[in-house]
């Protein structure tokens, strides 16, 4: 191939970096019209569908990488919908008087929960005054005194009549510390046995009989006493309840009327009234117990009527949009807190706390999937709540039955919230694959696009977006040139000259850093050179490893030739990915061939340094060889290919053109130009296919060559299909423009080997022969020779075997 024949494959400088040209009338004063989420219409429609759909299970999973503005997008869309929905209900927990371990929930229209809490607080204050006042009033005291007098008189009557009857019969009733003794009395004096024995027998019998009879009567009256005492207590209790009922009903009447339309609230108020009346005696003024824990203080007494407002939408004018940045179990589900009392942990309905699910009830809850999945128990609890359509506030230990101690189990609250999970795509696919319940709960997938078409309209919108972002971040104004430069870098970020990246955080980084460099030079606007500076400085910050590689090549530690020719040796190109940065560099690939059984050995695979895709590429390459050359003969080749001085793993098939070229060089014995590197994959028919990282690869080889001095011989061969992906650095483009460096785009491996060897690959003529002297002719000749040699070896082996 003549040297100038490579002209056909050279990529014109204009295609190496597609420049951006904004319309001449582009105005930066268009902030109001900027669509912050251009190119995301599919995801936007999906989210809108999910938040508008009122059926069950239409929760949303937003798929997109970190930095893709997914939170802002979701927030914008959901907030707009939330305004249309209006504020949802308030929720309170109140005491369950019949079962305090199960606090009951009350629902109120938005704002009325807080109002009810204040009403109950006011009621408590009133009761604290009204009930003791009622008990201290003359009316109550008089009635109580009347009951006491009545009881007292009944008791006294019992004793008086007994004593009188006993006295009539000469018997005295004497009290011991624990009871009574009946004894005969004569002349006012208790007599002993001496006096008694002196009495006539008839008298003695009479006394004994009287004592016997009176003893029975005394016992009967003693047995009556508890009954009298009980009757007395009952009467006092009834009086207390009557007094309390009067005081409470007056206070509660207004509240009952106010909340008549809320049946559960009205029922609760009835319970409150009944409870206060039932426990009326607790409300009586009493002395403070000597030890604080011996009795219920008034705070405890009245606190049971307090209201725990767990969801308060009084200040809301829209449905809630809650983003929980720390989706731990308590933060999502809620918790029951405890306080320490005399060394013990105690709780009640007032210590029930709502989580994000309840806060978002009637609205939207936005969660980061990765965080939800990494917090213990949260994912299962979230699903359970969605399935049950209610929130049961309990600890994970209770939920899983790990504890048996008595604690609160608040009444579940019905859940009507749309959950929006935000996460990377792999998380979505992982959940789809491994969680059979996931798909039924999250039916809407909103898949954010990574980039958008670089159409004229989109470029203009994108330019406006750059202006908007700069203003939002209070950056210096961007000149039109700077905006154009930013857009070009966004195409480079997308690895496609025909698309623009929608990764917003990297856009923000770029314009912020450009702003920094503009301010650094004292400028009032950000110009193209500031954007270029931001890009180059960022690259420099990350370039330590790249510099080490170039240095190693320069010092011949890493053997890369960029001049001269060599048989079976070619410069491949690889990309090293450091996460936030990646760079390309040349890799020497060598191939050797000899007579064999048709195997092409991939040394990387043999030592388990080659990945599966790389191995696939090698096999395709082997197949391409056998299919193209000497098809009538067995492939009698023993070839081996290796990435020299590569000690890490090799993955991908982007070196397969280079590997095939090295093999063809080895077979044809035609030397390869070391000033040209090559990348691209190849199929079985020799067609060169597109690969990734093409910009970094070209720039990597360019940097090495520049270090050694560009002389116009250097260049890189890339697949033709990769030309649209080219967004090369300006210095590379400039070098090409000066004809110091070249980029060749090829469709077929024949084109690549022709450029690399300077010899035409050659095509079969009508007789099926390759032109003599062409690369393919020499390769096929060598393979025929190998086959012949193999055949003769086989005959000799057979013959010696017969002998």
């Amino acid at each position: 191939m003549a040297a100038d024949a490579t002209q056909d494959f050279r990529v014109k400088p204009d295609l190496l970096r597609r420049l951006c040209a904004l319309p001449a009338d582009f105005s930066q004063d268009t902030e109001a019209k900027v669509d912050a989420h251009i190119g995301q219409q599919r995801a936007i429609d999906a989210i809108r569908f999910g938040i508008a759909m009122r059926k069950e299970g239409y929760n949303i999973f937003v798929l997109g990488p970190i930095g893709s503005n997914r939170h802002e997008l979701v927030n914008d869309l959901v907030t707009a919908e939330a305004k249309a929905r209006g504020a949802p209900h308030d929720w309170c927990y109140v005491n369950n008087f019949s079962n305090p371990e199960r606090p009951q929930s009350l629902r109120f229209p938005a704002g009325q929960g807080r109002e009810f809490r204040e009403d109950m607080r006011h009621l408590i204050e009133e009761l604290q005054l009204a009930i003791p006042a009622a008990f201290e009033g003359d009316d109550y005291r008089n009635q109580l005194r009347a009951i006491e007098e009545d009881t007292k008189s009944k008791v006294e009557e019992q004793w008086k009549s007994l004593n009188e009857r006993a006295a009539e019969e000469g018997i005295g009733v004497l009290q011991t510390p624990t009871g009574y003794v009946l004894a005969p009395i004569i002349d006012g004096k208790v007599i002993g046995d001496k006096e008694f024995n002196k009495l006539p027998e008839e008298k003695r019998k009479q006394i004994e009989a009287a004592i016997e009879r009176l003893s029975e009567e005394l016992q009967a009256r003693i047995e009556m006493m508890p009954k009298l005492r009980k009757e007395h207590r009952e009467r006092v209790r009834e009086l207390d309840q009557e007094v309390t009922a009067h005081a409470v009903s007056m206070q509660l009447a207004d509240l009952k009327a106010k909340y008549r339309s809320l049946p559960r609230v009205a029922a609760y108020l009835d319970d409150v009234q009944e409870n206060i009346i039932h426990n009326a005696q607790d409300f009586q003024p009493r002395e403070t117990p000597s030890l604080p824990f011996l009795g219920r203080d008034s705070e405890q007494l009245y606190s049971q009527y307090e209201v725990n407002l767990v969801v308060d939408n009084a200040d809301a004018d829209a449905a809630p949009v809650i983003y929980e940045s720390n989706p731990s179990y308590p933060n999502i589900i809620g918790r029951v807190e405890h306080r320490s009392e005399m060394g013990a942990l105690v709780t009640d309905f007032r210590l029930v706390r709502s989580g994000a699910l309840l806060q978002a009830n009637g609205g939207y809850l936005i969660l980061d999937t990765r965080r939800v999945l990494s917090r213990p128990f949260v994912w299962e609890a979230l699903k359970q709540a969605l399935f049950a359509k209610q929130v049961q506030i309990e600890t994970p230990a209770e939920s899983y039955g790990w504890v048996s101690t008595t604690t609160l189990k608040p009444e579940p609250i019905p859940l009507d919230a749309r959950i929006i999970l935000i996460g990377e795509r792999w998380l979505y696919y992982l959940l789809c694959h491994y969680d059979i319940e996931f798909s039924s709960l999250f039916k809407v997938a909103a898949d954010l696009d990574d980039d958008l078409e670089r159409s004229d309209d989109n470029v203009e919108q994108y330019a406006k977006l750059v202006v908007r972002q700069a203003k939002a971040r209070e950056l210096l104004p961007f000149s039109a040139g700077a905006i154009q430069r930013v857009i070009e870098e966004r195409a480079r970020y997308a690895e496609d000259s025909e698309r623009l990246s929608m990764h917003m955080s990297s856009l923000d980084d770029l314009i912020e850093q450009a702003d920094y460099w503009a301010r650094n030079r004292g400028a009032g606007t950000v110009d193209p050179e500031d954007v270029a500076k931001a890009v180059s400085e960022r690259r420099r910050r990350f370039s330590r490893l790249q510099s080490r590689v170039i240095d190693a090549i320069k010092r011949d530690t890493l053997l890369i030739d960029t001049a001269g020719e060599c048989v079976g040796q070619v410069n491949g190109l690889s990309v090293t990915d450091l996460g936030e940065f990646r760079y390309g560099h040349p890799v020497r690939i060598t191939a050797t061939t000899r007579v064999g059984t048709g195997d092409v050995v991939d040394i990387e695979r043999e030592v388990e340094l080659g990945g599966s895709i790389h191995s696939k590429g090698m096999m395709i390459l082997s197949a391409a060889l056998s299919a193209r050359y000497a098809p009538d003969l067995p492939l009698s080749l023993q070839g081996s290919v290796v990435f020299e001085q590569s000690y890490g793993g090799v993955e991908g098939d982007s070196a397969s053109v280079a590997e095939l070229s090295a093999l063809l060089s080895s077979l044809s014995r035609l030397p390869i130009r070391q000033s040209v590197a090559v990348t691209g994959s190849v199929n079985q028919l020799g067609r060169v296919q597109a690969v990734g990282g093409v910009n970094e690869k070209i720039e990597g080889f360019f940097d090495v060559c520049r270090e050694r001095g560009l002389d116009g011989s250097h260049g890189v061969i890339i697949p033709r299909d990769n030309v649209k992906h080219l967004m090369l650095r300006e210095d590379v483009v400039d070098a090409v423009r000066r004809d110091e460096f070249r980029v060749f785009a090829v469709r077929h491996v024949d084109e690549a080997i022709a450029i690399l060897t300077g010899v035409d690959a050659g095509e079969r003529d009508e007789d099926g022969k390759f032109p003599e002297g062409s690369v393919n002719f020499l390769v096929e000749s060598q393979l025929v020779d190998y086959a012949t040699a193999r055949k003769s070896f086989a005959k000799e082996a057979t013959k010696s075997g017969e002998d």
Binding site: D193, Q219, R229
Partner: protein, 164 residues
Amino acid sequence: MAKTEMKLRVVIAVTDTTPVARLWEAALGLLRESPADLVTLYVEDDRWHRIASLPFTREISRSGGVPVEFTRQRAEQVSRERAARVQELIQKLAAESDLQPAFEVLSESDAERLREFIGSHESILVAPSFISARPIFAILTEMNCRIELVEAAEEEEPPAYTLP
């Protein structure tokens, strides 16, 4: 020991049916007139022992149940407890006046010891009026000591079942 060498003492003579507070007030009045030691003499009534000597007496518990025989041991116990109750009352009253009177217990039937106790000091005896009907009064009279009778009737303990 001659009486002239001894300090005057005020003796409050009480039984288990004496309204103690009234006698206490009278004794305090005497102490205000002239400095003296204060002694409480609990004159133990033998009635519990007499009751116990009868074969048919039973104690009926205030909390119900079967009546049990009222034995001499129980009489002794009751007597001691009654004395202790009176002593407690006296101590309560004394504490209010910042006094610490001695408390002596003597049986009404033990005339010899009674005489010895009265005769050992120059005493002013404060006693309830109903004591004049009791045998002890004759002993006190013969000892020729000053006796201040406080008008009072015997008071049994109020019935245990008054109000809850």
